[in-house]
Symmetry: C2
Subunit: 340 residues, 2 copies
Amino acid sequence: MDLRGLAKHLNLSPTTVSRALNGYPEVSEATRRRVDEEARRFGYRPNPHARRLATGRAHTIGYVFPSDRTLMIDPLFSDFVAGAADVYAMQGFDILLHAGGQEDELSVYRRYAQGGAVDGVVVQGPHIDDTRIELLNEIKLPYVVHGRVGDRETGYPWMDVDNRGAFQRATKLLTDLGHGRIGLINGLENLTFAFHRRQGYAQALKEKGLNLDPSIMFGGAMTEENGYRHSKRLLQMANRPTALLISSMLMVLGVMRAVNELGLIIGADVSLIAHDDGLPFLNAEGLVPALTTTTSSIRAAGGRVAELLLTIIADPASDQPHELWPVDLIVRGSTGPVRH
Amino acid sequence: MDLRGLAKHLNLSPTTVSRALNGYPEVSEATRRRVDEEARRFGYRPNPHARRLATGRAHTIGYVFPSDRTLMIDPLFSDFVAGAADVYAMQGFDILLHAGGQEDELSVYRRYAQGGAVDGVVVQGPHIDDTRIELLNEIKLPYVVHGRVGDRETGYPWMDVDNRGAFQRATKLLTDLGHGRIGLINGLENLTFAFHRRQGYAQALKEKGLNLDPSIMFGGAMTEENGYRHSKRLLQMANRPTALLISSMLMVLGVMRAVNELGLIIGADVSLIAHDDGLPFLNAEGLVPALTTTTSSIRAAGGRVAELLLTIIADPASDQPHELWPVDLIVRGSTGPVRH
DNA sequence: GGATTTTACCAAAGCGCTTTGAATAGATTT
DNA sequence: AAATCTATTCAAAGCGCTTTGGTAAAATCC
């Protein structure tokens, strides 16, 4: 059943039926009710392609994966999108996913913009010198960045959590507990979130007059194995760190494995703080000892980014959002005073 | 630049330009070359909505999330889709994602079918009595199921890995090593994959004349915490199992945590076999000891399901695929003979 | 060399919707 | 009672593409 058929059935013109269904005012209440009812009865659904062609609005948001970075965003991605999906579904938007293939990311954006395939895109995993925002500004495709591009704070719409502040406070907690030698097990540091975390870590050390020791800092893919391998390396050093700051829950599992293997006691011999993105299948509180974490929900972030993007799309003249969310520091059992 | 503009510029009709670009034969080679070149020069891209409206083909595949089941598919999902994304990107297909919102899954399918929003859908995480395939058959929306619906093997297109065979062989490996008391830490058993794994486990025990003990079997969300909690419970029993079969890498991390905590030695005091979906951030070989696993790549499965679906879409009369992939059993260090 | 086929192109219709501009009838104003 | 609004409705154009049903010109046939 298409619009014309429905109109014919109702003895109305397609114009009126369309207006009735889309809530325009120039339709009498009686007619609107009649139309709504019959539309429901026939299970009428407007053809989305026709509507898009006619209105020029896709009612679709694009999520494009940088093919080379897929791996490390992976475990977080589904939760990030899950948070967004709900927002979109409520407003009748769809999500268009692109990953892989031979076409590069920037060219996908170009194609999206030109064909009107999407009304906007979400930029994930920004680099410290990301080239995507230049392009998106140029082609005028609405977007919101989840995270920031290095230290740039203006000129593009973003929503981020305070990774710098989080790791600064976490580091400070450790120094306050007397730890002077704190290892860092970070994500890839050309990604801004990891870059910021290192900055926070560095700054807190500096404030205490401690200096950075690159030999106890690691930045790389956030896998369980990297957590294991590098924490083990650090903990076997003669002058081993007494505390570790870890950028992901997955890595910390590897770290705990290493710690146990070396016969060390978490919270006593070595203190651990990890960043927890709130993944539903990895619970920091359920670990033994329960993990002290910097916590922010990747799912909530996904939802918020979606909201911001929809706002921009609905009103392109609205203010560019620059939204920084605080990160909770939750002290649990994996941190304790340094032992001498 | 739209088709008409391009045609005008070339002094051709839109008909000819369209045909040239789409590879129809009734265009001279010279003209085709000229069109291709100018199209590239202008960066012309056909408007996808217009094309979809005209052809009735969406060039889009839908992935709809069962909202209640989102949680447990999550960690696997991104890899599953990543495998598919590549296939789709190569063939110029897009992925439409739906999750959350107030609309229920079946009604999303209905909408997709009616509006022609997608050319087909992938059904993930089938239950043992899944209602989705009935609906999809009824509304004639092409689909492929990743997995199976309980013990049904025909009447719908599917691609699955041999979960039953895998756990049967894994169990047999353990019984051959002398283990008579083997615990099972499984996923939710109303999902077919977990149901099949239990069948395989049960059958292998039966073949050895061993009987099932429900008190050492668990089925639930595949979280790290469940792995920890339930393995710990089992290993603290007076008559504790000497080996555990675990349905996911995430769970096995929890299991290893419990084992270490109890001071047991993996491979000696307790043997472990886990199922490994080949997630890039969780490497079975990197664990200590390296983990004996049943292994199948969820990423490859995602790609294969995508291929099958595209085949069906291209030729609806083609044979319904029923494809069962074997699962590798890779013996590493976490399994050893039982100790008395 | 006229009849037939093939080649290369085009005009126009149509996909299913939205939206502009106009029309009708009834209500209100002067 | 004529003039002006207002509330409803509609016809038709248009979104940008594909595809059907042609038509000339060139190539092939007998």
